[in-house]
Subunit: 161 residues, 2 copies
């Protein structure tokens, strides 16, 4: 089972490919796709989509997991992030990959055991759970890995039930 | 100058290809892409994207014009429509087509002369402006045609300025 997990954003978009083999989570790939604020939004969206399509072709994940945000204080930002999410959902549809969505509190619960865990606790848990070779600069990348781990945990639960 | 104009939606998505030749607007194509409420959202999004990519390949428009909605009463619907918009913006980015966005009141002003024109007035104006051969069932299709006409009017203005 291999999942492409994404923390959608247009300035920074965290991506990770996580798999579970013999009950152990492995991180196959992670990155933070950064786009420049001065670049037009459609171009930024195009860069993110192209990168994610490349990852899908390279790693052939079985599913895509995305963070779902219900409410944010900034309506305009929320709409733009939704636009990124839509472009990514279309990538999943194109490659016939199932889409799964998790809220931030679902991710925190699955990774750290409780829904209010902070960024540092999440990062620590991820490091104890799997080998993370490269040094990670932005939380967005940790968030993507955490979303992937959440998906693997939830899929396992549904398989066992 | 040829524009693919879209009134984004996931239940009904109005699409139109409008061009201006010798100062006259022509409707080259219009349709309402309908997807079923029982179909999964990613699949619905995929259907809309595939159809729009087909239209781009067939008509080779120079630009894409989308309706932009700032606020709606239903947050969940607004986010889903934003997701459709994002998937369409990614199509434009993929084919290197410029994206232009117009608010409903910009469209109404451009087509009917004032920002509070109703649906019937818009439809009447469109029929007087161009030959619309097929009978149009849904407003979404008229809306797409109106967005296309708005784009042609605005582009002309910016070219003359």
């Amino acid at each position: 089972m291999k999942v492409l997990a994404i923390d959608p954003g247009y300035g920074r978009c965290g991506v990770a490919v996580v798999e579970k083999e013999n009950g152990k989570e492995n991180l196959l790939y992670s990155a933070c796709i950064e786009t420049h604020a001065k670049t037009d939004f459609p171009e930024r969206l195009g860069m993110i989509v192209r990168k994610c399509e490349q990852i899908v072709k390279t790693y052939e994940p079985n599913s895509m997991a995305l963070e779902r945000l219900y409410f944010t204080s900034n309506h305009k930002t929320a709409m733009k992030v939704a636009e990124v999410r839509g472009a990514l959902i279309a990538v999943a549809a194109k490659f016939d990959i199932g889409i799964f969505e998790y809220t931030p509190s679902q991710v925190k619960s699955a990774v750290a055991g409780w829904g209010n865990a902070d960024k540092n606790q999440i990062a620590k848990m991820l490091h104890s759970l799997m080998k993370i070779k490269r040094s990670i600069k932005y939380d967005d990348e940790y968030d993507a890995i955490a979303i992937g781990v959440t998906h693997l945990a939830c899929s396992q639960n549904s398989e066992n039930s």
